[in-house]
């Protein structure tokens, strides 16, 4: 097959081509490896030199290459979580989710750039430089899984792994015009993911279409002796087939479809998609998530609080950067001064403040109660509606540097994705149109463990929307 034909295949189509004998795994890997190596978007922090020798080519994923977000530990392969404090770190083991995919036949193509420790919505917080959006290289790809999203959108990888704590899969997928699934919390093991906020972090796929998302997710789920919070899934994940939405009730929460930050072009694409959904047989109704406007506040207490604890391990003793020091405490404080970027320092300080004596009840305790309210309100909406639908992000991809001077403005990018994270429920972003030539994402969220139904609904919408992602894929590779 011609390289340009190979690049146009979805992962599922590539697997079918390999099974038919029209394509071999080495040819596929080589095509993507050359593109990843010529990456001009700064999407990759490491690219494999050759097809992994220990690949399970007989597995159901047939050696299809996989891009992996930098924060997944991969044995003997740099795993830096976008941070200077882990520069060159080679973990002694591989994250369970990656190992599962390798067992199923995935071949690790490269590691992808990200915001440092997954803290960010633009990828500008990476110690390894920002990632560029393939739709417009003057704009951000979103974050924190920005390298994964840009790589998939640009055709530098057929699909990728990301993680989502408050929107870090869904928002970059939306800004890059691809599909991103944040699964139900606990369905995928977190073992070997360099932790940000443990009660929220969840791994998931970034793919070109909904079928690929189902296929990758199917091979990620499961319990894990190394993660007591990994409960697996109650159902086998099916490949979606639905073409219609007959009988489905979609709830539009007024709190997440209004507000000053919501761009008119995003709203127009969202409303056009609701009309498409009606045409497919769905009914659309307004619903209410009263506490959703407080979700961001609760999130920016809970996530930094957990981060301040998780990031205590980076002290210059066992791995990573060590700064010069004459005594032990100075070793810790100097190493963390030199190794962490500004956003990570900000969040460590917020989290430490929120957990400190005298402030715990006012901040962390109250934030956990808001979390309860949000989970209850989603449960109440799901008694009447099958799914909640919102725009994934209030705006399209913004220009590099546009929000770096104002941390709070950057946090507002997560307004529509954070509530689902707090409730632990699954949500998927699919491309639903363009605004000024830039992709807009539609978010569907459902009850815990509703992935199969949600993927079906997303598939039906995807078929009807007919989004064309090809403008982001340069036909002769990133080097053109």
């Amino acid at each position: 097959m011609d390289v340009n034909e190979i690049i146009e295949l979805s992962a599922a189509a590539a697997i079918a081509a390999i099974e038919r004998g029209d394509l071999d795994a080495a040819e596929l890997f080589s095509a993507y490896r050359l593109r990843a190596e010529a990456d001009e978007l700064n999407a990759f922090t490491w690219v494999a030199e050759h097809l992994p020798a220990d690949m399970h080519a007989d597995g159901p994923l047939r050696g299809v290459p996989l891009a992996v977000k930098d924060l997944f530990c991969t044995a003997g392969i740099p795993s830096q979580s976008g941070s200077k404090i882990l520069e060159g770190y080679l973990p002694p083991y591989t994250a369970t989710s990656v190992a599962r995919l390798q067992d199923a036949g995935a071949a690790v193509l490269g590691k992808t750039n990200q915001d440092e420790f997954a803290m960010g919505s633009s990828n500008e917080n990476s110690a390894y430089g920002p990632v560029l959006n393939p739709w417009d290289r003057g704009r951000v790809p979103g974050g924190s899984s920005g390298g994964s999203a840009a790589a998939v959108a640009a055709g530098l990888a057929p699909w990728a792994l990301g993680t989502d704590t408050g929107g870090s899969i869904r928002q970059p997928a939306a800004l890059c015009g691809i599909v991103g699934l944040k699964p139900t919390y606990g369905t995928v093991s977190r073992y070997g993911m360099i932790a940000f906020a443990s009660s929220l972090d969840q791994a998931g796929p970034l793919t070109r279409d909904v079928t690929d998302a189902a296929l990758l997710y199917r091979h990620m789920v499961g319990t894990d002796p190394n993660d007591a919070t990994a409960v697996g899934h109650r159902e086998e994940i099916r490949l979606p087939t639905a073409e219609r939405l007959d009988g489905l009730r979609l709830g539009v929460p007024t709190e997440l479809t209004t507000g000053e930050g919501l761009e008119p072009g995003v709203m127009a694409a969202f409303e056009a998609t609701l009309a498409t959904a009606r045409g497919l047989g769905a009914t659309i109704e307004e619903c209410s998530l009263h506490s959703a406007p407080h979700a961001l506040s609760a999130y920016y207490v809970i996530a930094p609080a957990e981060a301040s604890s998780n990031l205590a391990r980076f002290d210059g003793v066992r791995y990573g950067l060590r700064a010069p020091a004459d005594d032990l405490v100075s070793l810790y404080t100097n190493t963390r001064h030199d190794g962490f970027g500004a956003e990570v320092k900000r969040r460590i300080l917020i989290g430490t403040y929120a957990l400190s004596s005298g402030y715990y009840d006012a901040y962390y305790g109250r934030a956990q109660k808001v979390r309860t309210l949000i989970a209850r309100e989603f449960a109440s909406v799901f008694e009447r509606c099958d799914f909640v639908v919102t725009p994934t992000s209030p705006g399209v991809a913004f220009e590099l540097g546009a929000k770096t001077a104002d941390p709070l403005a950057m946090y507002l990018n997560d307004s529509f994705t954070v509530p689902m994270s707090l409730a632990g429920i699954p949500a998927i972003s699919i491309p639903c149109g363009l605004s000024d030539g830039l992709p807009v994402g539609l978010q569907l969220a459902g009850p815990a463990f509703s992935e199969n139904r949600m993927l079906d609904a997303a598939h039906a919408l995807e078929q009807a929307i007919g989004f064309d992602g090809s403008p982001a894929r340069t036909p002769t590779g990133a080097a053109s």
Binding site: T229, G316, D327, Y353, R371, G424
Partner: protein
């Protein structure tokens, strides 16, 4: 607005050294973030229980049986400084 002394206190708790200009910048930025977060102080949450974990997880403890762990060499391989099969650090005493 957070005082410089408060920022320095929190930084000390977090074992984080900040440059002088970082302290001033963080005081401003943290204050605006904390102002936004303070919105939840106005909510009536007296009868609401806290949620620390969203998925009901039954105790999933594995059998407590000895098994292999990382070899010492592997565990030490990424350390910045090693001596006598352990992590080498400077003295806890200053100077």
């Amino acid at each position: 607005m957070l005082e410089r002394s408060e920022v320095l206190h929190v930084a000390r708790l977090a074992r984080l050294r900040l440059d002088d200009d970082e302290v001033d910048r963080m005081a401003g930025e943290l204050s605006s973030i904390l102002d936004h977060i303070a919105a939840i102080a106005a909510l009536d949450l007296d009868d609401v229980p806290p949620t620390s974990h969203v998925v009901e997880v039954e105790s999933a403890l594995r059998a407590d049986e000895p098994g292999p762990c990382l070899d010492r060499d592997v565990a030490l391989a990424q350390a910045p400084a090693v001596q006598d099969g352990g992590f080498l650090v400077p003295s806890p005493q200053a100077g």
